[in-house]
Symmetry: C2
Subunit: 309 residues, 2 copies
């Protein structure tokens, strides 16, 4: 089924793909990327002795961004940042991404260019090549991004490695994104608009952390997930690094902070600050029902963002 839907000038897909190819070629060169946009597939020569990691993340209008408040560049930044945050959570280094873009009737070529400009600025800064993708038109805007990264073989940080007695940590501060979404201004809003994937912290945690994941949906649900995957319980009994002005509710359930949640042996030295990014111990892993989270003596409900709730 390929009925015509929304029409732009003839040959415009070809022209757009040509522009993207030029943009992609002038951005990160992509170690190991042998062929990118223009063929049926991208071709990649995988680095020796390393495992590859893959993540895929949707970016949906009115779910992950709003046209009224997010520029095209903001949306493009966020599309890639969401994927890179998963790469960071594995302790991996990004190699390349592929972007599928479902344009909406309102999506003008200038907006698409802005979207890719925002995406490619972050891509260049993080050494991520744009290797390909897909383009189509539909009733609403959605992008889907795949990011491929690599880690030394056997060294990926999993959610499942936490052991009783491990210390529980988070990077940065919590609740900024939810506060920013609520107020639409200030540093919290900028944090919401341009989340920063914690790639350096993730690589640093390789060989140090026993389990790691990124905080995309909120501490309450993400800690539940980590504890459940590890078959352990978690006890939060130290103050959370709440972003200035954010509520405890925003810090626990707000989501989209894209900080790292990780566990490490209690005797492992973790710095309080590294490259300007704070690391805060918030509790301890314990024996108990898999996924149970105790928050200062009370069972914590997993109330973070659930698309299917």
């Amino acid at each position: 089924m390929s009925p015509g839907s929304n029409h732009l000038p003839r040959k415009s897909e070809i022209a757009l793909v040509e522009r993207l190819r030029a943009k992609a070629a002038s951005s990160a060169s992509g170690r190991g990327l042998l062929a990118g946009i223009g063929d049926d597939c991208a071709i990649f020569n995988p680095p020796r002795g390393r495992h590859l990691v893959f993540t895929t993340d949707l970016l949906i209008e009115d779910v992950h961004f709003r046209r009224s408040t997010h520029s095209a560049r903001d949306a493009g930044h966020k599309a890639l940042a969401r994927g890179l945050s998963d790469i960071a959570a594995m302790g991996a280094t990004p190699h390349f991404c592929l972007v599928s873009l479902q344009a909406a009737p309102w999506t003008r070529p200038a907006w698409i260019d802005g979207f890719y400009n925002g995406l490619l600025t972050l891509a260049a800064r993080t050494g991520t090549a744009l290797a390909g993708g897909d383009l189509a038109r539909a009733a609403s805007f959605t992008s889907d991004i795949v990011v491929c990264g690599s880690v030394p073989a056997g060294c990926a940080l999993l959610r499942s490695g936490a052991c009783p007695g491990d210390a529980l940590w988070v990077t940065g501060s919590l609740g900024a994104s939810a506060l920013g979404l609520a107020t639409g201004k200030g540093p919290a809003w900028r944090r919401h608009l341009r989340p920063e994937p914690r790639l350096g912290a993730g690589r640093f945690l390789r060989g140090r952390a026993t389990a790691c994941m990124d905080l995309s949906d909120g501490l309450s649900i993400d800690l539940y997930r980590l504890a459940r995957e590890s078959g352990v319980a978690a006890v939060v009994d130290r103050p959370l690094p709440v972003f200035p002005g954010a509520s405890l509710e925003q810090a626990l359930n707000g989501g989209e902070d894209y900080e790292l949640l990780f566990t490490a042996p209690a005797a492992m030295r973790i710095p309080a600050v590294r490259d300007g990014l704070p690391f805060t111990r918030i509790g301890t892993i314990a024996k108990g029902t898999a996924g149970r989270v105790d928050f200062f003596g009370t069972k914590l409900e997993a109330l973070g963002y659930d698309h299917f709730r």
Copy 2:
């Protein structure tokens, strides 16, 4: 931004991911796949001496399928078949896929299960593991699939390798999908509903074809693309293998046939039929303006499906 949108019962995302994980685990085991659904990323140990190929394909309601005519299983089959067709066009063997699913308000859990059942049936038959993905809700249904495959290093079939004098070939027959879409019945409709990726033919063409791509948008536009990437012209001067009942227009511009279009040295022996699939020579590659296609003496316009036209 994570405003609540459409709500299903609580914890239903977790339950759905658990079901998918169980389905995925019982399907193809995925050579080299070390970790799949359940962590921030899938982990893959790439095979030695091979290059990896990646493709990404959107499947959009009312663009690529209609709920009124396509079952959930049909949609799931097609989502993966589109990606596997690109893998076939590179001469590659599939390893795994990741599926991002944007569910619509009408998308019930039973429909999602049906979608994955259709997808996983084709995945199992082709040795493709389901390694992960993303789930979200929005106003309309879209899926995006990434497929990773591999070829012996340096042996991927590109669009850019056609040389003047090469013979021009297609597999199977053309126009079936467009005829099926127009009539909604018979073998053509079944071909439209359940396209078959030409993986065996693609692997066979490694070391034989000089250029290859899959016919997803129609011979007229896809042959233009192949000739343009190769910097050559193409001459079609032999009868096309038109699907019985299909028009020449459907064969040239219909799209979604998912057959392979390839070139090979004129002296290369290509069988007329292999594993039941016909191979038909339709013309010759020539020197000339890059992308120019001559069809029995007339310039052929690239009229196949263009999402952005």
